[in-house]
């Protein structure tokens, strides 16, 4: 039945509230306590120590996980070392088979993994369901295919795997970062010991089950849990030949220093302070969506987040109006609700870091804008925040906040935009919005960043290499380039 004009008028004035749309959790089985996945089996930790992992949206304990000590790390590395001999000699096409299996198992258990990821980390279910888990499966599928084609990737070279890889990953995309690390390592014939972040260990422990289901040979993948101490024991273990780390620039530098002179291979994917540049000829509505996706995706817990918005002066006013309007429509709340845009901050420590940096922004003289939004009583939350009147010297314009906080700066000429965009020790990603093709290429050429998104932002794909310039790290993950850190070429 068509709606008449008379009926439509009051409808248009009405505000529609979203009804709760919670994702079911009754099919999820989280064990009360977990051991360490070593040599294909779940082992009791030698340390006998465990620590809780909580749901940051409710502060309720989900499970207790083991805190691996030096003996536990030693056992895991020994298991990986033992498995290396047979795994590296296994017919490459058979290595591929296992990786294809893992990819399929991730797809089969996708919803379970998505829900656990959201419960343990606080990210909106629509993101874990539509981004994290599908990309994880895709990553394994992509590198599975490389396992028996490596000689086509690096012609005229003799290839061999490096050995045991010690991999330490962050809490912002737990299963996806695991996939970025494990898939290329295994495809190239290495074995791994991986340590997930202490606040988000659960999806990695579910992945351990998947390795068992896939009947992956014991010791090829080992998962140990713990905090920074465990990570440091892992990367400095003498039998670890290759270290891959994703996390803060501060810890990355520490690892680079620790590994000095050891001959270990190292790849680092560190922090960022990306510029997202909007020119006056950009389609504004699309740019607004891109800006929102750039900084408020995953609560801004994204190393490549577009945390510095550079707007051409002539359109700063209308763009900011649209952006503020759009911010007021973002829904913050229960991460398990399918309509939620902004979930919980991953941990209390991270929340305090964000609060501290935001306070510094206000103190240094920037103008803060936060839309009205209801903050749940329990859990860790931070409203989407926007700063205008920001000078390049402010901490909020220089330091990685890793939260839903955007700093807005302006520019007049393309040269000024480039200058400001590159005025950072980081160089992970950058964004540019303009209708002019030649300008996109001109900008893309000049921005010192490993990934440039033009008229889009925060896109990822297993075929697309990802990684930084300057202090954002070295080495690439994804694509054929992502194999290099895990191969010795002679």
């Amino acid at each position: 039945m068509a709606i008449t004009k008379r009926q439509a008028a009051p409808l248009a004035k009405q505000t529609f509230e979203y009804a709760p749309a919670p994702e079911a959790t009754d099919h999820i089985r989280i064990q009360p306590r977990y051991g360490l996945f070593v040599g294909g089996r779940m082992l009791e930790p030698h340390s006998k120590k465990r620590f809780p992992t909580i749901n940051p949206a409710t502060e309720q304990k989900l499970s207790e996980v083991a805190e691996a000590d030096a003996v536990d790390v030693g056992r895991a590395v020994a298991a990986a070392d033992k498995a290396f001999t047979s795994w590296s000699r296994l017919a490459p096409s058979l290595r591929a088979r296992y990786l294809f299996r893992i990819s399929r198992l991730i797809q089969e258990r996708a919803r379970e993994l998505a829900v656990v990821e959201t419960m343990d980390g606080g990210k909106p279910i629509k993101e874990s369901r539509d981004v994290d888990i599908p990309l994880s499966a895709a990553h394994f599928f992509y590198y599975a295919g490389w396992a028996d084609k490596l000689e086509w990737a690096f012609p005229n070279r003799r290839l061999r795997p490096v050995g045991v890889a010690g991999q330490v990953i962050p809490w912002n995309f737990p299963l996806l970062m695991l996939s970025w690390k494990i898939a290329p390592a295994l495809a190239a014939g290495n074995t791994v010991v991986l340590k997930p972040a202490e606040t988000t260990p659960l999806s990695a422990l579910l992945f351990a089950e998947i390795c068992q289901q896939a009947e992956l040979p014991p010791g090829v993948v080992n998962i140990i849990t713990g905090a920074g101490k465990t990570g440091s024991l892992l990367v400095s273990h003498p039998a670890v030949k290759k270290v891959a780390f994703t996390g803060s620039t501060e810890v990355g530098k520490l690892i680079q220093r620790t590994l000095a002179g050891t001959g270990k291979r190292l790849s680092l994917e560190l922090g960022g302070k990306a510029a997202n540049i909007v020119f006056e000829d950009a389609p504004l509505d699309q740019a607004v969506e891109g800006i929102v996706n750039g900084i408020y995706f995953n609560q801004g817990h994204v190393c490549c987040a577009g945390s510095r918005l550079l707007v051409q002066e002539s359109i700063a006013k209308p763009l900011l109006e649209k952006l503020k309007q759009r911010l007021s429509t973002l829904r913050l709340g229960d991460p398990l609700d399918k309509n939620t845009d902004i979930g919980a901050i991953n941990s209390r420590a991270q929340l305090e870091k964000i609060q501290g940096l935001v306070a510094s922004g206000v103190e240094e003289g920037a103008e803060i804008y936060q839309p009205e939004c209801r903050i749940p009583e329990r859990g860790f939350w931070f409203p989407p925040t926007l700063f205008t009147n920001v000078s390049q010297s402010y901490r909020i314009a220089r330091e990685e906040i890793f939260g839903p906080v955007l700093s807005v700066l302006t520019f007049r000429t393309p040269a000024e935009a480039v200058e400001k965009a590159n005025n950072t020790p980081y160089g992970l990603s950058a964004g540019v919005w303009t209708d002019k093709g030649s300008r996109i290429l001109w900008m893309a050429e000049r921005m010192r960043a490993g990934v440039v998104w033009a008229n889009t932002f925060n896109r990822f794909d297993p075929t697309s290499p990802f990684g930084g310039y300057k202090e954002s790290g070295f080495g690439r993950e994804g694509g054929v380039h992502g194999l290099l850190p895990y191969l010795e070429l002679t």
Partner: protein, 290 residues
């Protein structure tokens, strides 16, 4: 006029009738910084072979060289690949043109001749790579969505090169050429015990149309210069292929201050992977739509 002796000697009389009588015009060896041949700002010199004075470069010389290199980076990186290839090829021409001089500097004989030949060949080989490296190592990536996505290598920036002690010419050329080929700018430390070939190579580079500051060559003591090169916050990568294990460890430690790339490929390596070792992969996304 005949028979009358001039009180001033004609220029001809200074010319030697035979080589035994000749008084050689000696060369003062200098460092090459920002396109100029300079003494060390410290005023110091050392005599590695016990005879010839060679500038003993200082921390400040190093900083000057890095500043000159950084200033030259954008321009050099923006040159077309073909133009960079032509300039590297010209360096090969200039080096080949001075073959007699270099063979003599390297001690003469078959070994010296071979080193010179290989140095020329290295420059020619990398000259040909400038416009192929992107094609060989770049990719177009078939992402699962309506996007055009491609990856290209770009120069990493200022590269510090520590030349191996031996071979004094070839060791440096083998690292200089791939770094320059990819569009980087270079601050090189010459062999400490045999710096003359490197300082003479600088004369070759100076006449090869490299813009000022693209290549800088310092001489002096490694233990004095290396820590500052490794820790310099505006150096993006260090080639430690010519270093001892102890030096590599010290470089790697200091390199962490600004997450420098430390390249350790064997000094004899000739490979496109050595070019990309001094390059960054940049990936660009753009939507496809009407």
């Amino acid at each position: 006029m005949a028979g009358k002796r001039s009180t001033r000697p004609s220029p001809q009389t200074a010319l030697a009738r035979n080589s035994r009588d000749r008084v050689e015009v000696r060369k003062t060896y200098k460092q090459y910084v920002g396109g100029e041949f300079v003494r060390s700002e410290s005023g110091r010199a050392y005599r590695p072979d016990g005879a010839v004075n060679v500038p003993r470069g200082s921390r400040k010389d190093l900083r000057d060289a890095v500043r000159a290199a950084r200033g030259a980076f954008a321009g050099w990186a923006a040159r077309t690949a073909m133009n960079r290839g032509q300039i590297l090829y010209r360096a090969a021409e200039m080096l080949d043109g001075r073959r007699t001089q270099f063979i003599e500097l390297l001690g003469g004989g078959r070994k010296a001749r071979e080193e010179l030949e290989q140095a020329v060949e290295t420059l020619v080989w990398y000259a040909g790579w400038t416009d192929k490296i992107v094609q060989v190592t770049g990719t177009v990536n078939p992402v699962a969505g309506p996007f055009f996505n491609f990856t290209i290598p770009e120069p990493t920036g200022v590269v510090g090169i520590v030349a191996p002690e031996q071979p004094a010419l070839l060791g440096l050329v083998r690292r200089l050429a791939p770094a320059l080929c990819g569009g980087n700018v270079v601050v090189a430390l010459a062999s400490e015990t045999m710096p003359i070939p490197a300082l003479t190579l600088a004369e070759v580079l100076a006449t090869s149309d490299f813009p000022s500051g693209v290549v800088n060559v310092l001489s002096g003591q490694r233990r004095e210069l290396l820590p500052w090169l490794a820790a310099h916050m505006d150096v993006n990568a260090i080639d430690a292929g010519g270093c001892t294990p102890e030096e590599v460890a010290a470089i790697e430690k200091a390199a962490a201050d600004n997450v420098k790339r430390v390249v350790k490929m064997p000094a004899g390596e000739l490979s496109p992977h050595l070019i990309t070792a001094f390059m960054e992969m940049k990936t660009i996304w753009h939507p496809i739509g009407v």
